[in-house]
Symmetry: C2
Subunit: 459 residues, 2 copies
Amino acid sequence: MSRPTPLSGFPELLPADRAVEREVIATLSRTFELHGFANIETRVVEPLDRLAKGGEIDKEIYVLRRLQADETADDTGLGMHFDLTVPFARYVLENAGHLEFPFRRYQIQPAWRGERPQEGRYRQFTQADIDVVGKDELPFHHDVEVMRVMIQAVGGLPLPPLSFQINNRKLIQGFYRGLGIPDVTAAIRAIDRLDKMPPEAVIELLEEQAGATREQAERCLELATIRASDHSLVQRVQALGVDDDLLSRGLAEVATVLEGCADLVSEGHVTLEANLRIARGLDYYTGTVVEIFMEGYERLKSVGGGGRYDALADDGRTTYPGVGISFGLSRTLLPLLTEGVLAGSRPVPSAVLVALANEESRPASDRIADALRRRGIACEVAAAPQKYGRQIRYAERRGIPFVWFPATGPDRSDQVKDIRSGDQVDADTASWTPPEADLRQTIVTRSRTDPPVSEEKTE
Amino acid sequence: MSRPTPLSGFPELLPADRAVEREVIATLSRTFELHGFANIETRVVEPLDRLAKGGEIDKEIYVLRRLQADETADDTGLGMHFDLTVPFARYVLENAGHLEFPFRRYQIQPAWRGERPQEGRYRQFTQADIDVVGKDELPFHHDVEVMRVMIQAVGGLPLPPLSFQINNRKLIQGFYRGLGIPDVTAAIRAIDRLDKMPPEAVIELLEEQAGATREQAERCLELATIRASDHSLVQRVQALGVDDDLLSRGLAEVATVLEGCADLVSEGHVTLEANLRIARGLDYYTGTVVEIFMEGYERLKSVGGGGRYDALADDGRTTYPGVGISFGLSRTLLPLLTEGVLAGSRPVPSAVLVALANEESRPASDRIADALRRRGIACEVAAAPQKYGRQIRYAERRGIPFVWFPATGPDRSDQVKDIRSGDQVDADTASWTPPEADLRQTIVTRSRTDPPVSEEKTE
């Protein structure tokens, strides 16, 4: 069989990079669990009728067919999930009788979309999602909760600074309604184009598609330019002179989220601000919306997002409102790994290579390795009894920091060499411990020396 | 949308059971890493030409098609992997220039087969695989290594006793060759039917399909009945009076594996024996083969297996021999979870529910929760300021062992209640710690009270 080539849109990591991804997943999981979020894993497939609602996304779904199915047999009727929200909503409905509400869950899994691959957009990609879902009702304080949890979770990662930008659907809808714009939904859709079109073109869209007057359209744009991370937000919106109940409620909610997270974002690695341009497309959000951006990687667009759904799920009798945020693991990590901003400290878990004097002494070297392992030190035994210089180079190529030399006689001691410094000392398997930093594979961060080349994207 | 029903063959776990699966995965991963095995994750799809070799397995592959692809467009040419060996072999070939050999990897991922679901057999199922792969050659001691690692890994799990049953393809082939059986491959295939057919029928198969004489066929069956966990194995095989080089080498290899693992299997939770009936079907094994069985769950057939491939991968220029073992996580865990032999201690990570006196004091309760979290104690704040009795019952329903009551006045102390014993004591967020056993979700094991009903299987 010939040498295979990578499959476009299905990135895979070498072992050192995979260690980075695992460490990131472990850090996120730890934070989510400290806040009482339970992990679930859903099957990768959903019935097509659950995936296909919404229309727009249909063409990106992968459908399963059994290879040797009957000629007459059709598809299985199953498609691969394209996010973790649809399967979660289905899981909640399916298991509602066995869950306690409010139900906090996190889920870190791949999803699939058959779209054209580009930087940060893959056909298989991993997301980390948190959601809180209630039965019949879900108090607003959970909007603050999920924001706080996600800020703390990603704030613990060795990533470039992240910016959480929030808005609120009630605020937008109330403002448009208060202004008297005939088609509020069309107006949201038009404003959502602001990152892809010049303002003048968006004003035209507002006039043509939302039925706005020129003056109304300009006020919509004024609202959309407001960004604030403190209470000045309220004054600036009120200064636009639109009076509407829904607007007031939405504005109060945005202010409450800002205030509720203020203690977490004062140190600057993660920032939070209201950005009244954020609309989160046509999804079924009904209150808080958020998008996450990574400094220096604005070309990736948002690397996460979410918000409040008044009906995350609904089985005809009961409604399950939810609020959640999704963070794009592949979207953030893969560009950083590719550029070398993040790297794994070594491609193997082993902290120690136990040298091998000759093939007959393999059991002795194995016993040394097992003694170290019982004390939590990962190690491997040299594959072959080469000269010690070659065994050291073998360790070097794998990034293993220590080589252990078994005692050469009954009155001699074992020795261990730090192959980076060359230091070699007597050592005992019962007490020797590598420095904490060498014990496990870790993440090495480097600052970017060259600004990345911006890649053109095709919509 | 109506209430969904589970999809046959695609099992999902409730949060408490998922916590069991996660703990099992963490335990396996820890052992694999202590032995220097690096984790990788491969994409879920492979080009069909890589999946379809071997013929027999073809009909179980799920093929991907884009839902909205052109009418004229065909399948993507991609299928979902049905095991972790095919993708690993491809990964090795694709990345050989970036890997150091011998390359030790572990992989814990789902795989998919479109076959009819039954107990222990699912359409989506998770496996844990370890392999060591060499370039051009891979010394035999790695056969002992992978066996030792997997014995220790699964020996650390709260499962019923596991039996590793080993054999060696060289031993079988050498024996058949030494006996003078015309078609050795057909003979292996026939002997492999011993668990599905009476011995007399297998003898007929050996005569008809392998061209064996009645006497040769009987000797094959004699070999297949040998089971031994010590050196008596060698004598019993030699007593059959067949002389062949390959047989001798295979026999020595089996004996070496038994001997090399003897110290690990003396305690009885995991046992290891040679069982010369084991052939591992028609896979491309060339030396050591192993199957794993779980006591009391023989109806599941083997719950794991593997062996030595002289050519795990081959790109036309270089051959990559490998030896590995796969352990069926879904196959073992799901029946145990269903029967209640294993259960999660609680469905949420939270060890503490911080009570809420009234909605105005939510920030105070949040601060208590954050203080505990900083010390590694998972907690959640009550969703609503109900009467404390109702908040305690809320904790009870979630299996949260402790409820924390914020101080009711400036000269009062916080208090924490163990809701199982009713004990309530003064407590300080800076020093109070729950017992180790309550800190995290754990696995609760129960012995089976009723023997499980054996389910009929259809081949």
